[in-house]
């Protein structure tokens, strides 16, 4: 009797196909979003052979399946987060879509700027952190990123920032001392470290001394420091200007070992000034050659 029913069913399906009413069998894609890299099943009903298609980011798969059996999606099929389309074709095709979401965070991408920054500058250091899963999908559900800025053993800043649309960011004042600034972004046990070189800011209280020599005037600065007491880097240019009765002459001298010095040719009385960047120093007067 059962055999008779099966034959009748097939015959009626065949007749239906002949009159154009043939449909593919039903199938069920995962109702909830699949986590990236997880296996999943697509259930089908009916009997007979069909062609199964899976089309998604990085995947275009075609295979023969038996209706009534589950179709197994392997872990490598669902590695990339996004929208997937499953299609089952027998006499006609039926399709359904489902989503694959990012898995749990496995790495943090951290961008920190700039790589070199003067000390004590407002909003001078900024950073962005983006959490990704092990398949490099952006994790979009909110996570808390802890940003920490430290110099040496001193913690300069600690800030917890929730991700919005998969990104968290901060902006901060640079530290007071020249040296390496460590910027750490962390989510639970994941962390990413970046380093920013903090350098002295503009010179502060530029002071010079001068004395007459046999060949002219020797001028030099005191150790050049910024307002926080950091030594201004060697190579920074200090411009010495001598004003005499005959006019003005200038010499550019780079800072070496913390000081800049120059020899100026002036036989008469001269007043010497110095400048570095936008900072002016004191002025010294040197008498005429005896």
């Amino acid at each position: 009797m059962q055999r008779l029913l099966q034959v009748c069913s097939r015959v009626s399906l065949g007749v239906a196909c002949l009159v154009g009413l043939c449909h593919a069998q039903d199938f069920q894609v995962p109702a909830a979003a699949v986590s990236a890299g997880d296996e999943a099943d697509i259930s089908t009903t009916g009997s007979g052979k069909a062609t199964f298609y899976l089309i998604g980011p990085g995947v275009s798969r075609k295979s023969e399946v038996n209706l009534g059996e589950s179709i197994r999606l392997q872990a490598q099929d669902t590695r990339t987060a996004g929208e997937y389309l499953a299609s089952v074709c027998s006499s006609s095709c039926r399709s359904a879509g489902f989503y694959v979401n990012a898995a749990k965070p496995a790495s943090l991408t951290s961008l920190v700027h700039p790589s070199r920054v003067p000390v004590a500058q407002p909003d001078a250091v900024s950073g962005v952190a983006l959490p990704f899963d092990q398949f490099h999908n952006l994790v979009l559900h909110p996570l808390t990123v802890n940003f920490q800025l430290s110099a040496g053993n001193a913690l300069l800043l600690s800030r917890s920032v929730p991700t919005q649309n998969g990104a968290a960011w901060f902006r901060a004042l640079s530290g007071k001392s020249a040296g390496l600034l460590q910027v750490t972004a962390a989510v639970d046990d994941l962390s990413a470290r970046r380093a920013v070189q903090q350098v002295a800011s503009d010179p502060c209280n530029l002071r010079i001394t001068g004395q007459r020599t046999k060949v002219g005037i020797s001028v030099q600065t005191e150790p050049v420091r910024d307002c926080a007491g950091n030594s201004v880097p060697d190579g920074t240019i200090v411009t010495f200007t001598a004003t005499t009765a005959n006019g003005k002459s200038s010499v550019d001298a780079p800072i070496k070992r913390g000081v800049a010095q120059a020899q100026m040719l002036a036989s008469g009385a001269a007043s010497i000034s110095a400048a570095s960047g936008v900072v002016m120093g004191n002025e010294v007067r040197v008498g005429a050659q005896p």
């Binding site: 298609y53 990085g58 275009s60 075609k62 929208e83 389309l85 990012a102 962005v128």
Partner: protein
């Protein structure tokens, strides 16, 4: 007389050939490009405001990227993916093309409309996140036979970063909703 007729015929043939080339080649490129409509809204971009030149570059490069996706997946060719993509977006798009070639499938994106909103622009301008509500007619064919044809509305989260001469897509991730 005979020589001048030959010359005239030669130049006519040349003109026809040039015309045929123009008709045969440029409409496709133009159609492929003009078929992608992109509306961009930068008002919500933060923490950095988007510069006017950057707005124009993003519009140009995002539109070109989708033209390239459509070409790559329709004709199963990797070349269009070389310029506008980088990183993981480029990797999976290439995988899509290769697996389509193997399975004998292709996808056609027709009448694309993208309503794009910039939601994040990094303080130093080195990464921008876009939310794109894309609408298109998606046709999937197996050996020329259409197996799926639908009007799709898909939400994409996009990360773009500046490269040497353009903005490139590094991440293109479809999500159920924003």
């Amino acid at each position: 007389m005979r020589t001048s007729n030959c010359r005239a015929r030669f130049w006519n043939l040349c003109s026809i050939a040039v015309l045929a080339l123009c008709l045969g080649v440029s409409p496709n490129l133009h159609a492929a490009d003009s078929a992608v409509q992109v509306q961009l809204d930068f008002k919500k971009a933060s923490p950095r405001a988007v510069e006017e030149l950057t707005e124009r570059a993003i519009l140009r490069d995002y539109r070109f990227a989708w033209t390239s996706i459509a070409q790559a997946l329709e004709f199963n060719t990797l070349d269009p993916l070389e310029g506008p993509f980088a990183g993981d977006a480029k990797r999976w798009l290439k995988q899509s093309v290769v697996s389509q070639q193997q399975a004998g499938l292709n996808q056609k994106y027709v009448d694309q409309t993208h309503r794009v909103e910039a939601v994040f622009y990094a303080p130093e301008g080195d990464v921008m996140e876009l939310h794109d509500t894309a609408e298109y007619q998606l046709q999937i064919s197996d050996g020329g036979k259409v197996i799926h044809d639908e009007h799709a509305v898909v939400h994409y989260v996009v990360l773009m970063t500046p490269a040497a001469d353009r903005w490139v897509i590094r991440l293109l991730q479809a999500v159920p909703q924003f």
